[in-house]
Symmetry: C3
Subunit: 458 residues, 3 copies
């Protein structure tokens, strides 16, 4: 196990320290408090303390933060022997990615003169970008070293920021909850990476690529937190007022409907009608993904429910019938099934967003059109053209994700990052000190316990 | 196990799909964004974006949401072999109930013309109604199929909305935290259902009706979340300003006091002075239930503490001495002891509310009387009469809960819903694909591990 | 096991009931709603309901509340056989401490005439004080009875309030996130208590003083919640506006940087490069502790990252090299390593705070100086003298913590509190009814399962 090839004693400290020191230097050079976090700037303006955006974004930020660290982290603990790595590597790469994302997103969106200005909104956006990296992590789960993951995060965050800039700033697309920028991007990037890292002998670790009873319960903690807080995720960076309120509510109903179709489909596709935890843990969340673009639009509550309902069906069908085909025919070993939870529902969400945008009218949006589709409101473009923008954005996202994943996959193949051998995938003990499963026996105590139990039963 | 009688392959998909399609049709016909979620309506009015009620209710909503899905879901995972069903069926019926509740509560309280208008407050109320269903679920836990649970939820939500309408709109009672509408209603409804579904041979599953070490820890996640967020629950729909603030604080102190009396009583009632996890997991929450009605009133901090203190005592005594009697004499098989956590403390809360209302004076409430007791403030009735209203409301709630539970219990007895046999209750594997408990052995790896450990120890 | 010496049947109820009754009497005599929770007072003033501080403090309060009950509670469940006690005693002593802290802190800081006025800010402060008690609990974990813990909490809360009063009111120090008042105080108090309670024969329980696989995952729930919500903790009671916003953001970056240095150091200090869960669970949080004093100051984002980076390194080094020395040479048996997570990082935070205060200028803070350093802003003192105040405060805190811990340690040594013997430390079953680890066997069901599995595999 202490094989030199996978030993992290030098590799991991070197990359962690170098990355963090670079981050600190770049932050020192480039990053400043924005005018809501800077003591002087804030007090130079005449406003109530209560108008600070902290009060209108921070609760959403914390919900998103929980999704990133608890939601994604525990969702992936379903493997019997990979809980430390799931939650632990999730923690590590997220902590790195959110710092790096602050710089990359700031560079593309937030330069004020030569400085990046930061506050709660940039924190939310950094967490969002981190979410995409964690989706890709789901595809390669169990087959990568922490060093590979940090390298992947570094490149993926950069490409994420490029794609986001192209979509939101150049193309003028709307994607508040990130059906495209986060879910589609993260999923197809990760799928391409895992394709390039294809392991023909992975079946030697097959016996560890499954759950045990309590690991499935830990994973449900992740699932439920993602499910509960998805309304906050989709609404975290929309315009204030009705927009945030409506987005949260649309997502709430989309998720509720998705849960019913997931349970129905899970029982329907099992020969004995038994529910499959994989479906419940994942497909029930597809409604949140699919409402990521259109959630802020006037999708209507029943429209949201239809979207969620379809997302649940697509996702279960993906897990049941498509994933095995992808693995066998296309050699895509997708550990967590991110194609089913983030890939297809993300594309569905993008399409729903394009259609909903294309049919937007002033009759329905009134003066609220300015918040949702500013270019339509200002008369610069027609609503139908906004739909076209959205559709092009989906295509661009797929292109950058697949192209980027291809290149990064080959970089990760370099034999210097300490990847585990095919025989010891999905296994914590290659990178972690792992204690036993059983408590230590304490004969004296067991004896007392037994005696006492007997007394009680007699 | 794949017994035709309990096979869900057709039953569950049929009910899930039919219910969701009906919901979508009714939402399409009846439900609209309210003037805080509708883009046009909101922007037609002249106000700051920050005045949207989203910012003053949504954080409370998310806390309530966590209580419903994590709190109730994990609280019930204490059984050794019913964790998937506890958290999974909780998830399913809650996702259904919150949609159905939106319609039923909207029908009774929120019609604007022929439309139901929805926003964050209706989302909170839908979650509240769902809470009552989950309380009833606790009474029948382990003995019902998911189809039975969905049928129960459908009827219970409807009756909940009727009872709530009678109490709040017809009788003019106050019950912000739902001591009556949620806890008393949910508990006695569920107790009557489980009475009707009485299983004389349930002792054949007795060996599974207990916890194991880690299942008790999972349950504590549920307990602690319920405990922490109960202040948000009780204050989620009270009037803004001092009312929400005071309600949260009263509940906080009630729960703290309840925890001390629970620990004290748990040790006192054990022959060897050892604490019982069942008490800690449940009775420590009774202070939140008991502060559900009077929490928004000028109960005073020490008044709240007295209420919590008593609730903890009553609840432990109920678990220890009353539950066995209910089961033996009245044939009420109450799996989670909802009578002790929600039933008796709910009644206590209703009584405390009636008394606190009856002694309300303008000296104490000042102009704040308008928020808490509008009819007293307007001079329409005397405070003492408000107390009478509260007392009548308790009686009405008990009547509708018991009567409704009786009827719904008989409906659930129909032999078409796939209920488990007496011999296989409290068992996940009847409705779920269940993995093993043990990790797969990996001889190669174990060998390496052992060698290494020996090296380390030498 | 039902040894008379550790039997809690009378001891625990007596102390719980007496303490709670005293609390109720003191609350009845001394405590009143403040003007934001009192119906009359609030409505006597002319303001919008939305200006109630509830809306600007309560979300932070709930995050802090989660850290206290879930964060600390689950962080300590890492021991294989002490999960019930970790989360359960944490629950009990926190529920007591927050009530007692309301009185003690109110007595020192919040008297209005002869009354203590309470609202959401006092609730946050009570939770903060509770945090210090739980840190001390970490030092004595596994070696104390619940009665000892309640006695300790009673004295520690009192001393905490004295120290806090001296620092904030007498010396005029700033310490919003409590690097000194909470972490340094709680850690050194607890370390002195555990020193006085030194158990020479503790190695007889050594086999239970370690984790098992799933207990480490439960502990990670605590870790991640503490990590996520630390920005809320440090900013919960700072001034409104830019101050809260900046504090949260500084803490966010400090923690992210700390996580990278923790992972790097954990791998670097292991002979085989494997990550150690103890480091990840604890040291990754040191960045929050170390940003507790300077977080509200203009520390800059990169300054915060440097602080976090150093805190992670110090903390891992402490776990690896210092803790064994403390135990062997100084006879300090620090179960959770609170010296490494709270002690040294707390001192680091105090020093960083003193330095950052000393270099504060009006150029940087502008009119915001009034919020952060009121005495500097008013010209009463120079910034450098504020730095001296901070340094003196650290010394005072260490003095009161060590002196107080010494006295309280000797009180806890009295042989009447039911402490466990050296042979049965770190063991739940001495104070709890503990179920088995294994599910009950159900031969019929196992048979069916096996048959079915065989069918599937064939």
């Amino acid at each position: 196990m202490t094989d030199a090839a996978t030993n992290m004693r030098l590799r991991l400290p070197i990359i962690c320290f170098i990355l963090e020191i670079i981050l600190i230097i770049l932050f020192a050079t480039l990053v400043q408090y924005n005018d809501e976090t800077d003591a002087k700037e804030w007090h130079d303006k005449n406003h109530s303390e209560y108008e600070n955006d902290f009060y209108y974004r921070y609760p959403s930020f914390q919900d998103v933060h929980v999704m990133i660290f608890i939601g994604f982290g525990f969702l992936m603990t379903f493997l019997q022997r990979y809980g430390f790595s799931s939650v632990g590597f999730n923690f590590l790469i997220a902590a790195f990615a959110l710092q790096w994302a602050t710089l990359m997103q700031g560079f593309f969106h937030g330069m004020h003169g030569s400085k990046i200005h930061i506050g709660v909104e940039s924190m939310i956006n950094a967490d969002f970008c981190t979410g995409a990296v964690l989706i890709s992590f789901g595809a390669v789960l169990g087959k990568t070293s922490p060093v590979q993951l940090l390298v992947m995060a570094m490149f993926e965050v950069t490409l994420f920021a490029v794609n986001e800039f192209v979509l939101l700033s150049t193309l003028g697309a709307k994607d508040a909850g990130g059906s495209m920028t986060i879910h589609t991007f993260g999923a197809y990037f990760g799928l391409m990476v895992t394709r390039v890292l294809y392991r023909p002998n992975l079946d030697k670790s097959k016996h560890r690529n499954s759950s045990v009873y309590h690991s499935d319960l830990f994973a449900m903690i992740g699932t439920i937190y993602l499910w509960m807080f998805w309304p906050s995720f989709n609404s975290a960076v929309t315009a204030h007022g009705d927009d945030q309120h409506r987005t949260a509510m649309n997502t709430y109903y989309s998720l509720a409907a998705c849960t019913l179709s997931t349970y129905g489909m899970s029982a329907l596709t099992a020969h004995d009608g038994k529910l499959d935890m994989v479906h419940i843990q994942n497909a029930a969340l597809a409604g949140g993904v699919a409402a990521g673009t259109a959630g802020e639009m006037m999708l209507t509550p029943y429209g949201s429910m239809i979207v969620g309902f379809l997302a649940g069906i697509i996702s279960v069908v993906g897990f049941k019938y498509l994933s095995p085909v992808l693995e066998e025919k296309l050699k895509i070993q997708d550990t967590c099934g991110v194609h089913n939870l983030h890939g297809m529902p993300g594309v569905l969400g993008a399409i729903v967003g394009a259609v909903t945008a294309a049919v937007a009218t002033t009759d329905v949006y009134g003066k609220g059109m300015h918040d949702v589709f500013p270019d339509v409101a200002s008369g610069k473009i027609q609503a139908s053209y906004q739909g076209v923008r959205q559709a092009i954005s989906l295509a661009v996202t797929l292109g950058i994700a697949l192209g980027g994943g291809l290149i990064v996959g080959f970089i990760l193949k370099l034999p210097v990052f300490g990847a585990p051998p095919d025989t010891i995938c999905y296994e914590d003990s290659i990178y972690w000190e792992v204690p036993g499963d059983e408590e230590e026996h304490d004969d004296q105590l067991t004896a007392v316990r037994t005696t006492e139990t007997e007394k009680l039963n007699s």
